[in-house]
């Protein structure tokens, strides 16, 4: 028998009751309606423009907006994850899993700084973080010598970078930022007594670099003031000189009275370089 014959035979039997043909939809629906609680005399539907419009709006929102919402959700999830990791990493210390994230965020912030002032401010801020980390790690993880050494090394490098950058032509902003953070640096390294013996020399080297950096920053500001008579630089110098006078007064008391008076007189003339020099000479004389 050819397939065509068989197909022809099948088609000829399609309405035969023995083949499940002669099916009456209307009567079958009446049974379904009765069992399922539907309306029994329903006619095939006809729909208008509004019905189709509703359908196409629904299709559009599901076909276009749903995938778009998915993409946005994934994007937000990634951003949220990154922001969360960045936030959590803010308190990470050397040796923590998220510490590298913290350093990465800092590098990104530095590369995104859009003016020298902001860049300088970030460099100085990161240096103070390294110093604080150094002290904290030394206090809490003294048994992990590699971690402590790494923290000290990073602090030294960070301050050394600032010192190097102070030699640039446009270092005034950085110098000003360093001047404003002097107290933070001194506070950080003042706890160096808790530093383990193994890295004490390294920490002292860091302290030395900080001191040099602070002095260099003052010199940069003085130079800027002398060249341009910059008002900002004048204010910074006034503040730095006041801090220095207070320190000398606290340390040497009445013995420093003449030197302080001389420095104040020079400040009144705008001769900041000489004012700082007078205080420095006094300290050297006392030390000898």
């Amino acid at each position: 028998m050819q397939d065509k014959t068989l197909i022809k035979l099948l088609k000829s039997m399609k309405d035969d009751s023995a083949m499940g043909g002669s099916f009456d939809f209307q009567s079958s629906w009446e049974r379904v309606a009765k069992d399922g609680g539907f309306t029994s005399n329903i006619q095939p539907a006809s729909y208008g423009f509004r019905d189709y419009l509703e359908f196409y709006v629904h299709q559009f929102t599901h076909a276009m907006l749903k995938p778009a919402a998915g993409v946005v959700a994934v994007f937000l999830f990634a951003i949220f994850g990154w922001v969360s990791a960045a936030n959590i990493s803010g308190s990470a210390l050397p040796g923590d899993d998220l510490y590298k994230v913290k350093l990465g965020v800092e590098r990104a912030q530095l590369s995104l700084a859009f003016n020298p002032e902001q860049h300088a401010s970030l460099q100085v801020e990161f240096a103070s973080r390294r110093l604080q980390e150094m002290v904290e790690v030394a206090a809490t993880r003294a048994d992990q010598s590699g971690v402590v050494e790494g923290a000290v090394e990073r602090a030294r490098n960070q301050v050394a970078t600032i010192q190097k950058n102070l030699g640039d032509d446009s270092a005034t902003e950085l110098a000003i930022a360093v001047g404003r953070n002097t107290a933070v640096y001194e506070s950080a390294v003042s706890t160096a007594g808790e530093i383990p013996e193994a890295v004490r020399e390294e920490v002292e080297a860091v302290q030395e670099i900080i001191k040099e950096t602070e002095e260099q920053a003052v010199q940069v500001i003085i130079t800027a003031h002398e060249l341009d008579e910059d008002e900002d630089a004048a204010l910074e110098l006034a503040s730095a000189l006041l801090d220095e006078i207070n320190r000398i007064e606290l340390t040497y008391g009445e013995d420093a009275e003449d030197a302080i008076e001389a420095a104040k007189a020079l400040q009144a003339e705008g001769a900041y370089r000489r004012a700082f020099q007078v205080l420095k000479d006094f300290e050297q004389t006392v030390a000898e």
């Binding site: 028998m1 068989l6 023995a18 499940g20 079958s28 049974r31 539907a45 019905d51 629904h58 299709q59």
Partner: protein, 182 residues
């Protein structure tokens, strides 16, 4: 509106508005195929009518709650589940054979070498179709009794059009072999 879009539109109407008219329109298109599936698997017409009614109600309840892409595929899936339930309920009881004694008589009276048109009647054809695997039988029934396109059957069976064409071709060969050897 294309056939697929029309079906999607009606499915949307059912789900969004519980539109019984849309349900009837869709069901009317596929009811014959559904009935025939039940007819080939169940013992008698009363059972077919019972299960058909049950399938329609389940179909409605499913569509008003869940987005559906393919009405026919869903209807046949629910029908197969209902058939399995039917036989589970009857487990332990004697099942009524779908093969009538008359059919057997006809099969036995066939003379070798006789042209198939002369000895195959609807009863024998039903018997032959009943011996095919489910997918083969459904494909042949949908294609040559219900007049579905290969594309629609492919969608229904979840196969490619090429695979469906091959399946129908092989199913016909199997059916011919069954009928010739009977």
């Amino acid at each position: 509106m294309k056939r697929d879009s029309r079906e999607k539109f009606l499915l949307f109407r059912i789900r969004a508005f519980r539109d019984e008219q849309a349900f009837v329109t869709l069901l009317e298109k596929h009811a014959s195929s559904l009935q025939r599936l039940l007819y080939f698997k169940l013992p008698n017409q009363d059972d077919v009518d019972d299960v058909y009614s049950q399938v329609c109600i389940r179909l409605w309840q499913y569509i008003i709650r869940t987005p559906v892409d393919h009405f026919s595929g869903l209807a046949h899936t629910i029908a197969r589940t209902s058939i399995a339930e039917f036989y589970r309920r009857r487990e332990g009881k004697e099942q009524v054979s779908i093969d009538s004694s008359e059919t057997h008589d006809q099969l036995e009276s066939k003379e070798s070498g006789e042209r198939i048109e002369s000895f195959v009647d609807a009863g024998i054809m039903k018997e032959g179709l009943g011996e095919l695997p489910d997918d083969d039988r459904e494909a042949v029934v949908m294609r040559h009794l219900e007049g579905y396109s290969v594309k629609e059957i492919a969608k229904h069976l979840g196969k490619t059009e090429n695979a469906t064409s091959v399946l129908i071709y092989r199913a016909l060969k199997k059916l011919r072999k069954i009928l010739e050897s009977s």
